[in-house]
């Protein structure tokens, strides 16, 4: 049976014909749309490497069926920078060495963007660590990751303060 779905991926509408309902959002992105920035670390929702934003929220794309997300607005790592201009989170990850091998990095960055958007962690390192615990990093770049997120959070607060001043 064929399924016609329509997704907005990184701001671009993609009409997809799926002959197979088993296709996960992750495999749709990687194998069919060739957006390989999002990674498969475990395929079972246990590592977070596949994190993308769906309708503004961070989820594990490996445990999402593509057909079930017809109409969704998806943001992947490929859609985060503006051309050569890095997103503040991306720049912060570089500045704080929030990665080593880089495999978990797209998922970490999408998760960080989601975390900041959720507005729960603020500038509390403990809340940031807890909030980012759904993204495993076997290289152990956690210290840099947390520092990067806190740095961006601080920057946002300062930008807000400047705007309202």
């Amino acid at each position: 049976m064929n399924f016609s779905i329509s997704l907005t991926v990184n701001g671009v509408r993609r009409d997809v014909e799926l002959e197979d309902p088993r296709v996960t959002l992750l495999d749709l992105l990687r194998e069919r749309l060739h957006l390989t920035g999002t990674k498969k670390g475990c395929d079972r929702g246990q590592c977070g490497a596949c994190t993308v934003l769906v309708d503004g929220r961070r989820i594990n794309s490996c445990l999402a069926l593509a057909v079930s997300h017809d109409g969704a607005d998806i943001l992947t790592i490929e859609g985060v920078a503006r051309g050569d201009q890095l997103h503040p989170v991306q720049a912060a990850f570089i500045a704080h060495d929030g990665f080593q091998c880089g495999f978990c990095t797209p998922g970490q960055i999408m998760s960080a963007i989601g975390l900041i958007g959720e507005g729960q962690a603020g500038d509390d390192p403990e809340r940031v660590r807890e909030g980012m615990s759904g993204n495993l990093c076997r290289c152990g770049a956690y210290s840099g990751i947390t520092d990067a997120v806190l740095d961006v959070q601080k920057g946002l607060v300062e930008a807000d303060r400047r705007r309202s001043a």
């Binding site: 049976m1 399924f3 197979d20 309902p21 088993r22 996960t24 395929d43 079972r44 929702g45 977070g48 994190t51 929220r57 961070r58 989820i59 594990n60 445990l63 999402a64 069926l65 057909v67 079930s68 998760s111 989601g114 975390l115 959720e118 729960q120 509390d124 403990e126 809340r127 660590r129 807890e130 909030g131 615990s133 759904g134 993204n135």
Partner: protein, 356 residues
């Protein structure tokens, strides 16, 4: 995974009709079902996607003071709803201690209630498991079972229910509203999950096609909001299932416990309400001795199902701790590490001396 029919009905009655057939399963976010399908544990031939059914994603405050939560409400949305978190803090804390932010963003209330065990033999399709294949046997019974049940288990199955969310729900007398082939009915969460007995494959009282449409917490449950905690022991600081967990919710008036609600997680095939233990506390002062008595009562029927005797002691201790923390009062703000024994980490300074 196996190929399946995929249908996405737009009405509840269509959903029920599609799901009532053998081999069909409801799909909400899929965070449990898809994992089971990828592991070959579940092999439905039809998925009935309920995510677009109307009216199931609201949190409604009821005239009697209770709250009705649509089954499609996301775990994260419920936990972060300010009014809900304030009124039912132990439930919010339990939700936030489970899984990861990504999973909580996707997982639904209904799905959380029905999540299946994490028993390694259940997941290992080459092992004998009476849940997966009635009559096949239980390889956990004489296998690696340090994490298995100490209450409510049978020779046929010693698996535990992994949900955090369900633990305070049973303590607070939550109710599931169900639509099915025979119409609408309600089942207390405490009665929703079945003990394995001889039929561990029957995990709940749901009939084919039954769809949980809402979860309701009674108005009375709000009365515990000032003294309610959920606590969880696990083998890493976050993103891990409970070894044991406990909720304690107290109504304290003039220094006396008027009413206590207690439940345990990680110890049984279903979230374990501790009625006997609650009774020992009614009218007591909230003292360590009273809490220990309650904990002993809660685990009085506990028996190891394998190398897990330590869980009995641990479950008693966590219940005492949950009671102690509940008696101290619900924190103003959700802790940074919800449900963790490490409520806060003070970044220790070499200059700081700890007290002996």
């Amino acid at each position: 995974m196996k190929t399946f029919d995929y249908v996405r009905p737009t009405t509840i009655s269509d959903a029920i009709a599609a799901a009532a057939e053998p081999g069909a399963a409801y799909l909400a976010s899929g965070t449990n079902l898809l994992d089971l399908m990828k592991g070959g544990v579940s092999r439905p031939h039809r998925l009935v996607d309920v995510t677009r059914l109307p009216g199931l994603d609201r949190i409604e405050h009821l005239p009697d003071g209770g709250v009705r939560i649509g089954a499609l409400v996301r775990n994260a949305d419920l936990a972060h709803d300010p009014d809900f978190a304030k009124s039912y803090p132990a439930v919010a804390e339990a939700l936030l201690s489970g899984a990861s932010a990504q999973l909580r963003n996707a997982a639904t209330v209904g799905g959380n209630l029905l999540q299946r065990t994490r028993c390694g033999y259940f997941y290992d399709v080459a092992s004998a498991c009476n849940k997966r294949e009635p009559g096949a046997g239980c390889d956990a019974r004489n296998g690696e079972n340090r994490l298995h049940a100490v209450l409510g288990w049978s020779e046929a199955c010693i698996a535990t229910h992994p949900s955090d969310f369900c633990v305070p729900l049973v303590a607070l007398d939550a109710v599931a509203e169900i639509e099915g082939r025979t119409g609408r009915r309600e089942v207390a969460i405490e009665a929703l999950h079945r003990l394995p007995g001889d039929t561990p494959e029957q995990e709940s009282v749901l009939e084919p096609g039954d769809l949980i449409v809402a979860l309701r917490l009674p108005g009375e449950a709000r009365m515990f909001s000032t003294h309610a905690r959920y606590l969880k022991v696990r083998e890493r600081t976050s993103y891990a299932f409970a070894i044991v967990s406990a909720t304690a919710a107290l109504r304290i008036e003039q220094g006396t416990i008027r009413d206590a609600r207690l439940a345990l997680g990680g110890v049984a095939p279903k979230p374990w309400r501790a009625h006997q233990a609650e009774q020992t506390l009614a009218g007591s002062s909230p003292t360590p001795a009273a809490f220990r008595r309650a904990a002993e009562a809660a685990l009085v029927d506990a028996k190891p199902s394998g190398d897990n005797r330590f869980k009995i002691e641990l479950a008693q201790r966590i219940l005492v701790r949950a009671l102690t923390l509940a008696a101290a009062g619900t924190p103003e703000r959700m802790p940074a590490l919800p449900a963790s024994p490490f409520s806060s980490v003070s970044r220790s300074d070499p200059g700081e001396i700890y007290e002996a």
